[in-house]
Symmetry: C2
Subunit: 317 residues, 2 copies
């Protein structure tokens, strides 16, 4: 069964976006089947299938922009260094934490590649250990290690942070722990389709059920069975919506769409930061799904990435 | 049948908001019955019932803030002048166009009263003629007449515009026509639950069907049968999403919620203005319905009105 898309809905988005939505497969009986689909034993095949599709897209971006991709280690953590042929200023860099529900994806994610190309900057993308092989807080510790190394190698105010979906609780926990350890903040953040609350709260998890690329119940079940271990989803270091913030937090732009199951997490986090006087912007796109922003050629994705660049470039001028 | 409200949804909003949603009556068989409910002959009773509830709230606000409310005429159009006891600066004023689907409400609307009180400013609120007694473009012409008078009496850069729901296409058409007539723009705009597209397009009309205070099909049917006449809903002076804008357009803040049937209209209009370099901000509140902002004591409404004041006050400093 395809996702529902009325004439009134498709007339308010690009024809490319409408075609994308018409091709999203839905999972029948997701509510009943999710606990089984999400079992740790099923993760390797899910990962292989996901990566097969991603590899094609990633290699196209690398070829199109002539990017170089090299693995280094920082404090024993593997990090992918993605570079355009002639970065505008090698002293200004991006720190990227990829998404994928803590279980899927690699440091060579589309966002890392697209921003290396489109901002003409070098990206350091953390290749953290996935779940279920590593449970909370292994990946978070690895991301903090890389952060600590990068702020020594570069002027923290020349570093921009990017993260997507499940990468968002990782990068925000890193910043909150860095703050506790009196480490400096970086210049700014872009959070794509942010998973700020993995406790299951929020309006969009309900209204975008059966409207987004993946059923929220499956996402939550995958995280519960594979990643959380004994951690409480309401722990402020697990779900950043429950942490406290202050004006020291870096200027932040958040990107979501009206079909994104995590839209409410972005909306709520916007207000959380705004109320403590953090410079914050929310970019919500009509009819767009979880992660629409990393489609290389989708008009809405191109438009939103341009707005994100505008926000970030102001911060490292 | 009450509106649906899961535990995950209610845990992300105030308890006051959850109580409000639990008390919203739904209209059974709205899809089938709307053409009959929306008939012109039924408008007077609908209006009387609506106003009965509003009168109580409005009179409470007037008493609480000791507001004065007087009717004047500007260019033969009745205008309500709402004033706090000691306005901060009588040379800086608000121009208000109320909502109510072109059929309901009066110039003494909650937003006019609340902003007179909370911004301590004098509000000029247009008492335009309602539909079906007057069809398109009578009300729009009246609003333009009042605009033309106000920009002569006051420095246009000392005037802020407010409008709600169906008041939004009126105030924007006024600005677009004023621009064509080479009249000056005002200093800024706040658009609450904006009806920027009354052609029936947009994602939120679908996903917030049965989740908001009124079925979208009934709103559209009321407008069609009572207001539009022979006008095309895609006419740029009818639905502002179809008009062209430029950087001359006043700085604008838009207010909506994730349950608002008109959220997509706000989201789309945000991008429309942003892309032509208008200063624009969108304030989206988690779980909030169409017009939540005019609840006097709702925590989310208080919070968003405070953010709106902050935006507007910067513009007339």
């Amino acid at each position: 069964m395809p996702l529902s898309l009325s004439l009134g809905q498709s007339s308010a988005i690009s024809s490319e976006a409408a075609r994308f939505l018409q091709n999203v497969p839905t999972i029948p009986f997701a509510g009943v089947l999710s606990p089984f689909i999400a079992r740790p034993s099923r993760v390797p095949s899910m990962r292989a299938q996901f990566q097969k599709g991603e590899d094609v897209v990633e290699e196209n971006i690398i070829a199109k922009y002539n990017l170089s991709v090299n693995t280094i280690t920082l404090g024993d953590v593997p990090v992918l260094v993605i570079s355009p042929p002639k970065p505008t200023d090698p002293s200004r860099i991006i720190y990227n934490v990829h998404g994928g529900g803590f279980m899927l994806g690699t440091a060579r994610d589309r966002t890392a590649l697209l921003f290396a190309a489109e901002m003409n900057m070098i990206v350091y993308s953390v290749d953290y250990t996935l779940a279920p092989e590593a449970k909370y807080p292994v990946a978070q510790n690895q991301c903090l290690t890389v952060y600590s190394e990068l702020i020594q190698k570069f002027d923290p105010q020349h570093i921009l942070g990017l993260s997507s979906s499940a990468g968002v609780p990782l990068i925000i926990a890193v910043l909150n722990r860095a703050r506790s350890e009196k480490l400096p903040m970086i210049a700014g953040l872009a959070l794509f389709a942010p998973a700020t609350d993995i406790s299951g709260a929020g309006d969009s998890l309900t209204f975008n059920e059966s409207r987004d690329v993946m059923p929220p119940i499956l996402s939550l079940e995958l995280v519960r069975q594979n990643y959380l271990g004994t951690a409480d989803p309401k722990d402020p270091l697990v779900s950043p919506i429950f942490a406290e913030y202050g004006p020291h937090f870096p200027p932040t732009v958040m990107i979501t769409g009206t079909r994104d199951v995590m839209m409410s997490g972005a909306v709520r986090f916007y207000w959380k930061l705004r109320e403590v006087k953090v410079q914050v912007e929310i970019l919500i796109m009509e009819g767009m799904w979880h992660g629409f922003n990393w489609e290389p050629d989708l008009p809405e994705a191109i438009q939103v990435r341009s707005a994100v660049r505008k926000f970030l470039q102001e911060l490292i001028k």
